[in-house]
Symmetry: C2
Subunit: 505 residues, 2 copies
Amino acid sequence: MTSILKKTEQDFLAFVKKIEDYEQAVSLLAWDARTGTPKKGVSQRAEVYGTLSTAVFEMATSKEMGTYLEALTEKNVQAELSPLTPKVVQKCQEKYDRYINIPQDEYQAYMTLQGQSEAVWQEAKQKADFELFRPNVEKMIDFQKRFANYYDPKAHVYHTLLDVYEPGVFTDTLDKVFAELREALVPLVQAVTTSAVQPNIDRLLQPFPKEKQRALSEAMLREIGYDFDAGRLDEAAHPFAIGLNPNDVRVTTRYNEQDFRTALFGTIHEGGHALYEQNVSKDLLGTPLCQGTSMGIHESQSLLWEKFIGKSKPFWERNYELLKKHAAGKFDQMSLDEFYFAVNKAEPSLIRVEADELTYPLHVILRYELEKGLFAGEIAVKDLPGLWNEKMAEYLGIRPAHDGEGVLQDTHWAFGLFGYFPSYALGYIYAAQLKEALVKDVPNLDETIAAGNYAPIHEWLRTNVHQYGAAKKPVDIIRDVTGGGIDPTPLIRYLDEKYRRLYQV
Amino acid sequence: MTSILKKTEQDFLAFVKKIEDYEQAVSLLAWDARTGTPKKGVSQRAEVYGTLSTAVFEMATSKEMGTYLEALTEKNVQAELSPLTPKVVQKCQEKYDRYINIPQDEYQAYMTLQGQSEAVWQEAKQKADFELFRPNVEKMIDFQKRFANYYDPKAHVYHTLLDVYEPGVFTDTLDKVFAELREALVPLVQAVTTSAVQPNIDRLLQPFPKEKQRALSEAMLREIGYDFDAGRLDEAAHPFAIGLNPNDVRVTTRYNEQDFRTALFGTIHEGGHALYEQNVSKDLLGTPLCQGTSMGIHESQSLLWEKFIGKSKPFWERNYELLKKHAAGKFDQMSLDEFYFAVNKAEPSLIRVEADELTYPLHVILRYELEKGLFAGEIAVKDLPGLWNEKMAEYLGIRPAHDGEGVLQDTHWAFGLFGYFPSYALGYIYAAQLKEALVKDVPNLDETIAAGNYAPIHEWLRTNVHQYGAAKKPVDIIRDVTGGGIDPTPLIRYLDEKYRRLYQV
């Protein structure tokens, strides 16, 4: 290896490390904005966030970056580099290519629209008036189309968007797996809804003081193996987990004193995201590979812990006493079976983020179908509210009373996040696939969980998923674990077995 | 005004705003590092902090900055600029001049030494072994000498250092005012120490649960007018206040369950700093003028609230009931007079940060005398421990048992902060001067405080001190308020009257 190349590689990695340091500062600004920035400081905070985000963008698409990428992707060069470097180069190249052709003024206009769009969406949602929000959605779609064309004029726009969140998974795959899933779930939801056997959730809705819920949330995070020496738990109106680096991965939750399930299962969900980020290999520190590999794989980790473990019978065999200890007598008269059925109650509802695990995928599939139609030119923005309501009736048998609880409920489109929704359902499908693979390697999984012995689970997840960070593509993770591709069968099997048993249908 | 000049001015202000945005991010990183960064995240955090601090340093001493400063300080140009711009230019020029001639590698070596030096100091302090720390102090002094010479080879090094923290206040002034202060305080401390009349502080040392102290601290911050919509209160091992901008000024405190005075008066102290930063004019946002003007003036604000108001009789006439409410019966048997005397107990002690208001200035004067001797070449580093102990005996009548509670107690020298200590005592002197001026304008100050009517105080401080931020030099603030210069007489008068009355000496 020539010393010039060696020097170029070192300089490139130092430059990448600098960008990553900036990204960590941006993450801290975002965390603080959502957990602790004082009210009056919000607008200044947005300016600081904008300044540093712009600096990251500028570095990632700079001439300097272009020169490094050119030098380090030359033929015969890659084999000379340290094993990790080509992957770092590839990751930087993807971002570079995606943004380099967007004219500065268009990107600026897009950022400005994004900055305004959330407030418009909030007002529209509050007034249940989609027409207020419609122009913003139209402009956002227009921007996305133009940006996607700058990147790859030959590709389908929606493919280019999907590729951001779940690399390599396109509409051919999504159409197929979502159709299978939908066809299995719609009748199952109907059966469950009309079953004479229903859980009683009254006791779940008894007041549960915030301080006691906080202690329970902390205990639950410790229970599932979250490392408080590499993280912390705070409150946020819209909970999230955020990893600055594997040694600093923060969880947030929201306490509803009338319904402790919000915090309990929300905390386990975000804890699942956090376990992923805490266990990325430290060898990847200082590179853009030191994070989850995709939205879908990330969501698979949160859902695995929240649903497949956190809502399982063995988990509550072990933890019901812990819950009772924090609940000041509320569940003394409730058997474990009653409790287990109650926290797994499934019924059609209007709001995605509040949906149970059985109906949840249908909410996502609905959004996918609308987005796909929008970018194929088959659906006009003005028709979204009506189509939304029709699909809700068709898939879940209920219909929003107004657009505030219909098409306006989610914030994603206000931020231009088209192509993001499918990863929620993909994550669910992945989680079921991973769970089946895990059971093959840890056959006594239920006993393991009931004994609170999570070490084999952590070890398996670290080995097969976590350690790689973004150095391994989602499709490779799934293939290496399952021997195949994306397959909705494990999820359908899981939901079918669990809910037919619970509801005796 | 030519359009080229106008454009240069705008570009300069935008560049300055960018640097300030970075500074705010750096401040948030610092706040988080001291309040919430998880244990394992500390070293990554230091790297991110280093990267952004370096970026600030690079911008502040960049060719771009140099070009702006040159263009905007030309003759005939300054009168054409917006009224604020010349002050911003001056502030940037000061920083530019101070650093521009330091060779990059020397600055890097200095930063590296600084990074290592704290750990060395900590070990030396723990082992009470000054010899461990001595080489670092020597190297730090050497760096400071060289840097000061790059800046101004004709000036006294210690003057150049003092000028950083308290612009325009040099050893001629300090020698004079500190001598006056010392000569007044040494006999007063002796009189108080040997008085037969002594307060009983037993009740102050009863256990006071942290949660109750937290509520008391919050109540006290509200009481003195701290705006929680533009700030927040957190815990830190070494409490501080930090202003990101006037809309986001954060206070920290430390709870000692065996001695509630630590948090109570510490919170008021930091609250005084915070009131200053919250009330800087918002016209200064986005410039380096949007902060306190000097260490000394800053300290005057914290001490004014902590000592001159927070330890005054009228303050406790109003707030003793509030304290009792939070103290769960602890003070029911203690009269207001007994309490007032107890919280104003004065006695010689070894540790500066724990010293009472009477003995505190002597701790600072001692450090000043040693620093001055070091930079004049009259004192060798190896002689510091002995000289420290002699001066302690001379000024306070007590002697450290070891260097851990003597010369090694403060961290400042580990960070190369020479010239910083005097501003602690200057702030105290300023506070007394400001208090006397305040009483002239608000003659019924005691009644005002006893009634909890702080509005006239806030208004006076905003008008005379706060609003200007760093756009007005400390010397101008003091001159405009008092009609004169730095004068220790008001502080001596205050301490003499208060302690002779309390101790009946």
